[in-house]
Each structure stands twice: as structure tokens, then as C-alpha cells.
Amino acid sequence: MNVLVFAENDNGKVAKASFEAATYGAKVAATSGGAASIITHGSLDQEGLNELASYGITNILHCSAVTEVDPSQLTKLTIAAAEQTGAELIVFSHDYTGKSIAPLVSAKMKAGMVAGAIDYPEVGADFTVKTNVFSGKAFAQVKIKTDKKIITLIPNAISKVKSEASANVSAFSPDLGAPSVTIKEFKAEGGEGINLTEAELVVSAGRGLKGPENWGMIEELAKELGAATACSRPVSDIGWRPHHEHVGQTGIAIRPNLYIAVGISGAIQHLAGVNGSKVIVVINTDKEAPFFKAADYGVVGDAFDVVPKMIEAVKAFKAGQA
């Protein structure tokens, strides 16, 4: 089947999750005897476009005119690209933009959609996809019944794989009509800016830290590791940390390679958002904390003692690697 991948412009760069989506689309196309194409938009650096071209993709359609993320225009752009490339499957990343656009494309095309896929589809008599449900507490195998299909792929669910071939990049500018929303302002987050949903390493902390003034060591550990920072719900509810850092059942679900939880007890709602992580390290003073049951490695100890030691150990490790 021919596959179209929506690659997102993340402030002038190709979003990291889009390389995974490209890998996913290329593999599905290759195993089913079709070609994979990419639709992308806005002003993008050449390096990003070149890299995007190296994941087994045949064609990249680039619409430079759409610079802002307007749901209606991006929907029209994706549908036009799907028609142009004869795509039977459209793949998005299950991130802010993908989650916003994919349902619109699905309803406009009456193409069945599976949101939050964590694996490649099984293609036989039926086309089924494994997806996250119950906020990470379970998985579902979902069949798409329509000829045209849509999948949103959870970041970090599959590894990106480069290929030898390189794609053609061509300009693409279908009629997209007027924007449906007016973007007034973009307030960039401060700090190091590692996107939490895409991060491979995450350092997270909870009430065990006793106050917002104690997050300096968490940020320092994250910086040494090249990790994003996250937090538990109580900590974001009382305003110690911003909402967008809250991971868990009612926050965001993440699946990094490494999740380090400091001073978080591990309530079932928190575990739901992080149990897709490949390796979990728990640091807690309470050896009975439920999080230890979900952890690969644990340290029973005081965060104020253990975290500074970790920072030193990571620095020493990096010095040894250099």
C-alpha cells in the first residue's frame, strides 16, 4: 500500500518524532509493495529535509507556504497530498500537532483511525494495529475497516532506521483556503527545551522534594544527562511545577528509554503515564513505596543525599567516556 507520512515542522526543524513516523511509513509501504511519501510544511532547514529524505521515503512534498499550524489548512494539505500520492495509509505522530490534525483528516476522508499506535500494523485478512488504552494500563488490537486508514504513532514506540536511498523533494502548493484560526502569539518555554513527549531520558520528581525551591538539583541532573524534566500530579496541582510537566493518567503519557523518579510514591494514576518507559529508576526514602514494584532499579534513600551523588556520578561517567 502507498503510505503518506505527515512530518511536522517544529519551529523550523523537523520534529524528532517525524523521523520515527517516516521509518514506520517506509516499512509498512515496503512490506506491502507500495511507496512511502512525506508531506511537510513551512520553512525548514535543509539539513532536516535531507535527513527526512533518508528513511526509505520515495517523495517529499513540501508546502513552504503553510507556516503556521492551522488545523483546517493542514487538514486540506494532508488530504491533497494523500490524493496526489495515492496513499491508502496516512501516518502522523501522536503529539500535539498530530493529535490535532489526524481526527479532522479521518472525519473528512471517512478513513478509520487508530490513535496512539505502539507497533507496526498486522496486515493480513484484516488490518489491525496495537495501541495504548486505559492511559497506558493496557493495550488494544484495533481493526480499521475502511480502505483509507489513519494511524497516529506514539513517540519513542519504534526506533528510527535510515536507508540507503534518498527521496526527491518537490514543492507542493494546493489550494488550502483561508485559515480557520488566527495565531496571535507564541510564548516559547524557557529552559533547555527538551520536549518531554519525545525525550529519551526523563528525570521526574514529586512531593518528596518538599518544595519548588529544591528543583535545582533535578534540573541539574537532567541537564547532565541531557534529559527532560517532569513531575507528578500533586506537584503541578500545587503550582510547584508547570502543568505541561505533569505525567500520569490525567497528565501526559510518556515512554522514554529511561525514567528516573525522585520522591514519587508511584500511585496507580502516575504509573499509568510512565509504565511504557523502557527502564525505570526509583529513588524514595520509603522502601514500601509502590513505585519500587514497577521499577527496574531502586535506591532507598533521601533524594537530597542521592541526587547530588548521581550528578557527580554522571559527571564522572561522562568524563570517562570522553
Binding site: V69, E185, K278
Partner: protein, 246 residues
Amino acid sequence: MNILVCISKAPDTTSKITFKDNNTAFNEDGVQFIVNPYDEWYALVRALELKETNGGKVTIISVGAADYEPIMRKALAIGADEAVRVDSPALDAYQVAAEIANFISNNSFDLVLTGKETINYNGSQVGGMVAAILDVPYTSNATKLDVNGSKATIERDKQGGTEVLELSLPAVISAAKGMAEQRIPNMRGIMAARSKPLTVVPASVSDSLTETISFSLPPAKGEVKLIDPENITELINLLHNEAKAI
């Protein structure tokens, strides 16, 4: 202004998730059901605040069987004026969206709010699909919403920061944390909810596009490996050599 809030039924956040019938159905035994938190805490409460400021009416809608009614009464107790239940099991996001869109096209609303996702299916699909079917503007994941006449101003989270945008009503907006604060229904609200209208309307034959074949649970974790706090270097070595995580 007339506001419609889409309400979904979800298992309580503390529920242990198990399946039955050869892993083809969710096992509801002993599960407490709640209003999906994003629908209740943010979409419904913000709708009530907008009504309190601007006047108007807040209607809630659910697509589901009669067992949805207890959670719909809860939403009425929190302050919604009336409720509509489309009498059909919820088959998939598209079918639910098509039923809601059908109801909206026969009634008039200035604003339609949903939660950003349900905690049982996590699809983030219904709101966008309703907007696409009705061809009205849509914004997902809004953390702030203000209405001024026929314009709505929204803040939404996206990669790398917060976007401030404006759109014309009618529109569909999905609500995320930050838009409002949870309200606990009081006794007066609970009493009043009993006599508020809950209308049951027939489904309009919309078909589903997808079908869940089976469920599975994540594999259990092995025993945790405990590391002495006096030997953190060992932890870093394990993360590098054994777990290959750094």
C-alpha cells in the same frame, strides 16, 4: 450563549484494569465509573463559568446506553442545565462524533467543548471529528479559553511553548489542564440534578470505521534491583552497561 459539553464515561482513575470474554471486553465488575476527568474538570466547569459570566445554557451530551445516566446526573449536579443521551453504544470515535454532530446540526450551539482525551481510550479524536463533520473551527488541548461576543481567545500547549490564538464561533474546542478547576457538587446541586431534564434521543444510524478486536495487559516487571545509596556509581554503571539506557 449556548454551550454543549461532550461527556464520556470512564473507569475511576484508581481502577485496576482487567478484561473478560477471552480478552475481548473490559471487565466492569467492581469498577466505579466517573465522568471522564478532562470532560468534567476542565470542559464542563469552564462552560459553567462562561455561562455565569455571559448568561445562556449548558447542555451535556453523551453517546451511550442507559448505564451512562448516573455519570450524566453527576454532570447535572455540578451545574449543567440539561442532558441529552444518544441511545446507542459507543462503537468508535467516528460513530460517537457523527452522532454528536448530527445532534448539533439539528440544534444550535455557540460553543462545543470536549475533554482533550478520555482516560480509557486516549484517542483525542471526537472533538476534531465533530468539527470536521460540521466544518467549523477546531482547536485541541486548550489550557485557557475566553469568549468575547462571537470570538474565542484560546491558549494551547504545543511543542516548545504556548500558542495564543483566536477563532470565530461556533467552534469546537478540546480542554486540557489549566482551563478550570474541578468543582465538587454540593447537596443542593445533587438534589436539583434529579429533576433536570435528561432527554434520550435515538441514534442516527452512523456506522463505525474501526473495531477493537482484543485487549492485552503490559508484561509484569521483574524484581527491582536495589542499589546502595552509598554506591551510586554502581547505578550509573548498570544503566550504561546492563540497561543500555545512557
